[in-house]
Amino acid sequence: MTGRDRSGGTRAWGLTVAVLAALAAMWPLLPDYNQITLARVMVFAIFAIGYNILFGYTGLLSLGHALFFAAGLYAAGLGARDGGLTAVPAFLAGILAGAGLAAGVGALALRTAGVAFMIVTLMFAQAGYLALLYFNEWTRGDEGFNLPAASRTVLGLELAGADMRYGTALALFALATLIATWLARSPLGRVMVAVRENEARAAMLGYDTGRVKLAAVTISGAFSGAAGAAYGLIDGYAGATFASVQYSILPLLWVLVGGAGTVLGPLVGAVFMFYLIDLTSGLTDAYMLVAGAVLVLVTLFAPRGIMGEVRRRVARWLP
């Protein structure tokens, strides 16, 4: 949070806009390979932004966010394949699926707290993953399926090209970042942080902390569903892998490395992890070992994540 509410506001927005402008400026300069990679990273960063709303701001650690990502992915994918949805309605269906499922899971999982909350969300996500495999006839869970080309055009432009992938991912990422920045500085964002910091006190100030937490889970699910739908529509593929536990751990890692409770942390974490694995895997087969070592170092020397350390050391006003 910022110091006094009025200070830091312009700088916070300025930095966010500057980062988005830099990503836009890189667009025509990047080779195709990097455009496609960065497009994926930006979509995953939307996922991380959603995760950060729940974990970084509200202080709830979920181990089941793959479920909400997959909900968006499959709502868009199946909607396009079986329902003939075009890109925009398919994307909206993904947001709704993520938010709706998160609200349902949240209503049940929030009866618990701490470690029990982690376990319950993990169990829900595993149940979702197994259901995708069980209904394989319909979901093509094990080998996945390609989305029909008709669903992958926006305003007459095909999403398949590297250029369009980057542009679409950037537009969605920019939108997600601006919404998240606004949310973090909104009255609801302030109360979410209060719940994270001292839930008993927040309740004794008159806040319905149960409702705040449910709202955070639902908003977080909506972002995750949006990311899943965007991933499916941009890459043209849906499969059960994205519902596996790995995709519940990844957003946690991205947020931890990038900086929990910071607006730009999710992007920084996702970019860092993605290129770390990308670069090291080109050098050695033991790239996971290198990635693991780097993670240990980051955790040791920047326990608040990269942006968290920047905030602590140089820029207290960082959103």
Binding site: T2, D5, G206
Partner: protein
């Protein structure tokens, strides 16, 4: 202030059991608008449990609570706060990692929403003398300032009833003097119910005193009556 017939707060037969132990035992209690009521009694008398029942932090085993003429027994704590109660914890409870300003802003926002938030926050901070520390992280404040911060949060909530659980505990004598003046000032706009061990503070502040012992009301009255009460002396001296 809205016209209201009857007392600000009324507890009827309020009871709380913990296993076999009855911490609060059929307490009938009435608080009039504008009072500064001190709640005193030996350790373990059930004072904190009693205000917990009033504020809704603790569910009663039996009995009812009426606030501003309305039965609030079934309402959770956060709903009672919205109706116009404020509560400060016995052990300092602030948002230690947030700034002083954000702490008070959270309190003000709970009551009034985002409108006029900055003005209300600044005003509450100015009243306790912490405005120049607004940008500091609350956890870095000295203990006495943290207690003042809690009072500022209470002020920002603009309550009808302010419940203070041992507000002067751990403060130095000069700090206590300022605190007493501040509470008296707050009491011009709100009814105050405070648990207090420091008898000087009680005698300076209270318009009425309620003495709790073994979860029941032992005596109630004006400060001079309580001072003269033989049963109260016996309870304190372990007679």
């Amino acid at each position: 202030m809205a016209a209201m017939s009857g007392p600000l707060l009324r507890a009827e037969g309020l009871t709380r059991d913990y296993g076999g132990l009855r911490a609060v035992d059929h307490v009938d209690f009435t608080l009039q608008e504008g009072e500064i009521r001190a709640l005193i009694g030996p350790n373990g008398a059930g004072k904190t449990t009693f205000v917990g029942l009033i504020s809704g932090r603790i569910r009663p085993s039996a009995g009812r609570v009426r606030f501003m003429g309305r039965d609030v027994t079934a309402l959770p704590a956060h709903r009672r706060m919205r109706l116009g109660m404020a509560y400060t914890f016995q052990i300092t409870s602030i948002f230690a990692n947030l700034t002083v300003w954000d702490n008070v802003a959270l309190a003000a926002q709970a009551r009034r929403g985002a409108q006029g938030l900055a003005e209300a926050t600044d005003a509450a901070l100015a009243r306790v003398g912490l405005l120049d520390r607004a940008g500091q992280v609350a956890g870095d404040l000295a203990y006495g300032h943290q207690r003042l911060l809690e009072l500022a949060m209470g002020i920002a909530q603009a309550p009808r009833l302010l419940i203070l659980d041992e507000p002067t505990q751990g403060l130095s004598d000069p700090e206590i003097r300022d605190f007493v003046a501040l509470i008296r000032d707050i009491a011009r706009g709100a009814t105050v119910l405070l648990i207090e061990h420091n008898m000087d503070v009680v005698m300076q502040l209270a318009t009425r005193i309620t003495v709790l012992n073994f979860g029941a009301i032992l005596a109630e009255g004006a400060p001079e009556e309580i001072r003269a009460d033989a049963r109260v002396r016996a309870a304190y001296l372990g007679g």
